[in-house]
């Protein structure tokens, strides 16, 4: 059964286009999606997933189960960076450990979307409020990551952190943490802002002018699957290019980026079971825990923890964890879900 799930995933259009991108790089094709076209698709996917999520959130309402699930997701996005940090600190300095930890505490929207597509193909239901969990997991992980970086900074760094710039922007108490900047990067980051904004708009439109829903449908719903395929083609190209960087990252980080996802997914499975989530929501919850951010977190870390080496946190999240989750993780987590979670 598990192997059939793996096959069903491998033979789906989005995953096949992902492979096409990877293969292109490996065999030396010059296929590329020139910038800023990938950004068009990533903005589109965020807008569409947010809008649809908000719309379904309006239909399901904000009951206790919804709030509990979202709360649990936020807690996971606070805990995962902490445990990851402790582990990563064994081999890495504080800045890099914190940045990578933040990435794994946060989420990958494309992994989530691919899991949703997979559930659609299996005809397993899931709830729109999971998108709200997705949207709310990015910021806390960033904040935790920055705090960890600052706490582990050598003393002299802490003092002088912001000296070179205008002081209006910062509150230097407690180790030079520039709260305004951190919160701005955590909550107003372009991708977080668009996702949450679209979620709210989807909610409002569904609640107050439902006639608009049908008119959005061709754009946000019908086009979605094909656009995902197109974007995954590019993700495959980019992920394969990142693989080259892994020589620098070393065996420890490679191991981490392949083992962290299933471990975090297992914790997610446990939490889902405790919360009594349906099979579909459990898979999505596991995927949220298992996936790592390569958009919002790197953008924030680059500004707030410039001492960390971007190629470490980008290469692991994008070059290993993302392909692992999309190709093997999703069907694996689904097999576990089917085994441990009773059919709704």
């Amino acid at each position: 059964m598990e192997s059939s799930l793996v096959l069903q995933n491998l033979l789906s259009a989005p995953v096949l286009f992902f492979f096409l991108g990877i293969l292109g790089v490996l065999v030396g094709s010059d296929l590329e999606i020139p910038s800023p076209l990938p950004k068009l698709f990533s903005l589109y996917l965020l807008l569409a997933i947010g809008f649809k999520g908000g719309m379904e959130l309006a239909h399901s309402g904000l009951g206790p189960q919804v709030l509990l699930t979202i709360g649990a997701a936020v807690v996971m996005s606070l805990l995962v960076p902490l445990t990851s940090f402790l582990l990563l600190r064994l081999r890495l300095d504080g800045y890099n450990a914190a940045a990578i930890a933040a990435s794994y505490g946060s989420i990958s929207a494309v992994t989530f979307i691919t899991a949703e597509s997979f559930l659609n193909v299996l005809e397993v239901n899931f709830d729109g409020f999971m998108v709200a969990a997705l949207a709310l997991m990015e910021s806390p992980a960033i904040v935790v990551g920055v705090i960890l970086a600052k706490l582990s900074a050598p003393a002299e760094d802490r003092e002088s952190a912001g000296d070179q710039e205008n002081r209006g922007d910062q509150e230097n108490g407690g180790g030079g943490l520039r709260w305004r900047e951190v919160l701005q990067e955590a909550f107003l980051n372009g991708s977080v802002y668009l996702l949450i904004g679209s979620l709210v708009i989807g909610y409002v439109v569904a609640a107050f002018s439902p006639a608009g829903l049908e008119k959005m449908d061709p754009f946000t719903e019908k086009l979605f699957y094909g656009a995902l395929c197109f974007f995954l083609l590019d993700m495959g190209i980019v992920a394969a290019q990142r693989l080259r960087d892994l020589r620098q990252t070393g065996a420890f980080l490679i191991g981490f980026s392949l083992l962290a996802p299933p471990v975090h997914a297992l914790v997610g499975l446990l939490v889902s079971a405790l919360l009594g989530l349906s099979q579909g929501n459990t898979l999505l919850f596991m995927v949220l825990c298992a996936s790592a951010s390569y958009i919002a977190v790197p953008a924030a870390m680059r500004m707030t923890v410039p001492q960390a080496n971007p190629s470490l946190y980008i290469s692991t999240a994008l070059g290993l964890t993302f392909p692992f989750n999309v190709v093997i993780g999703i069907p694996l987590y689904m097999a576990l879900t089917r085994h441990f979670i009773p059919v709704g």
Partner: protein
């Protein structure tokens, strides 16, 4: 007159442009979607959609007298966030 060429991550662009103006330059030009290689590794076009973004190339033509002020304002930013800067001579057309 001096010409300053800066290459840095587009994420720091706002900050750098503000610093340039504050230091007294009368103008500057920005090209984005720049890729390249430097002390801290390679920035490829494929990363453009990721959170890292690509590089930007900033060109500033300033009077000799302003060069020092611009350099002073930019060097700490380049040091903190990465990026490089070069100076050469020029004159108005």
């Amino acid at each position: 007159m001096k010409r300053i060429d800066l290459f840095l991550s587009e994420r720091e662009l706002n900050r750098v442009c503000k610093a340039i103006t504050a230091a007294g330059a009368k103008g500057y030009s920005v090209m984005r979607h720049v890729t390249g290689m430097g002390p801290s590794g390679e920035i490829s076009e494929g990363m453009d959609f990721s959170g890292l973004g690509a590089n930007a190339h900033v060109i500033v033509f300033v009077e000799d007298a302003v060069l020092a002020a611009v350099g002073k304002a930019l060097k700490p930013l380049l040091k903190r966030y990465g990026g490089v800067g070069f100076v050469s001579s020029a004159e108005p057309l």
